[in-house]
Chain length 203, copies 2
DNA sequence: GTCTATAGATCGATAGAC
DNA sequence: GTCTATCGATCTATAGAC
């Protein structure tokens, strides 16, 4: 601790931002140390190896996601609203409020991260996937969501579009994410809800 | 040259595979040198800096893509078939036959790659995006593609889903890509084509 | 065009003082 | 819990011989 501040938490927050912007192999303990005004070795005290830090990051993502789904499961909103609410968390992410997670964050460097991180990333992906399949099916039952084809395929498509959109936003601005957001939401709305929109069909 | 082999080309091919699996900051000249049985310095002869190598890789992606779109533009297939054919090139990618490109490959480490590479990545993304918007609109006109909403939004969604699916395939196996592939194709088919499918609605 | 050799920087990580 | 100091490995890159 330094003056009542939680250094361990600050390290995780700083590492999380670096991870999203630069990838796991694109940042070092030095980046974090400089930003927090501490030394390299101080970080090693909290996270002995970089693998430890990486595992802690992914595990935190996963716990955040699970507690988020617990919260929403307790509410009485429709499946469609739950799903849109999940998409919204990605916008929070883009704005630096890291609430839950980019599930496919390590896909681009999967063979270049430590083994324990790979396992954690796979578990995170499984949890998000299972929740999304469940929510889509629930939406079909309560009539708030409509789509064609297999629910598992659709869940994977939505998750993939979100992940890809996050990357496009890095390259070409966050407007890219909003485009995908709109299109996903539109594609999941039942016909009854669509008529109330002024959706461009000729663009 | 070594015994009639084109070393420069072998370096690019090797680097391309490493880039996809490990990210730009996840491989070094040593990785390439070991695989090709040459020395570190031999690669620097062909690509003075790693930035040069990276720029050459993205530029090659882009040229491949542009010549591919030229080819398909000359044929008389429907817009839907063109688009499915583009999705197919990603499967080639997964199988190690690098025909064209993963357009969002640097999204995960955008702030951690050299400046010239960032610019090339943005140009590549712009080209793919423009082609996809054009093809979707063409499909609406010739009746081979159907979708709701803005064409630019839809193009971004399809491109994002492809990019995300490529990453999920790294994490959880190529079956993940095929799920997204099926769902994208299903979502673009006009109603007339769908009736001939035995599409599961209850899964 | 490829090699040996090496400079120079950065990285992850540890020992030990405070 | 944070510091100084430092080790050894790895990385990008260059000089110069063949």
């Amino acid at each position: 601790m330094r003056g009542g501040r939680d250094t361990r938490e600050e390290i995780l927050a700083s590492a999380e931002e670096l991870l999203l912007k630069r990838g796991f192999n694109g940042f070092s303990y030095q980046h974090i140390a400089v930003k927090l005004g501490i030394r390299n070795a101080a970080i090693h005290y909290h996270f002995t190896t970089k693998e430890d830090l990486g595992v802690a990051l992914v595990r935190r993502y996963r716990l955040r996601f699970l507690s988020w789904t617990d919260e929403t499961a307790a509410t009485q909103v429709s499946a469609f609203e739950k799903l849109v609410s999940y998409l919204q968390t990605y916008i929070d992410y883009l704005e630096g409020r890291w609430r839950i997670c980019p599930v496919g964050i390590f896909g681009a460097e999967f063979d270049a991260i430590p083994d324990l991180m790979r396992r954690e990333a796979q578990m995170l992906m499984r949890d998000v996937y299972e929740w999304m399949v469940m929510t889509l099916q629930e939406g079909r039952r309560d009539g708030s969501i409509a789509y064609e084809g297999d629910s598992r395929d659709k869940a994977m498509e939505v998750a993939a579009a979100l992940q890809g959109a996050l990357q496009f936003a890095s390259i070409a601005g966050r407007e890219r994410f909003e485009q995908v957001f709109r299109q996903i939401a539109l594609g999941l709305q039942p016909a009854s809800a669509k008529r109330s929109d002024a959706v461009s069909q000729a663009a």
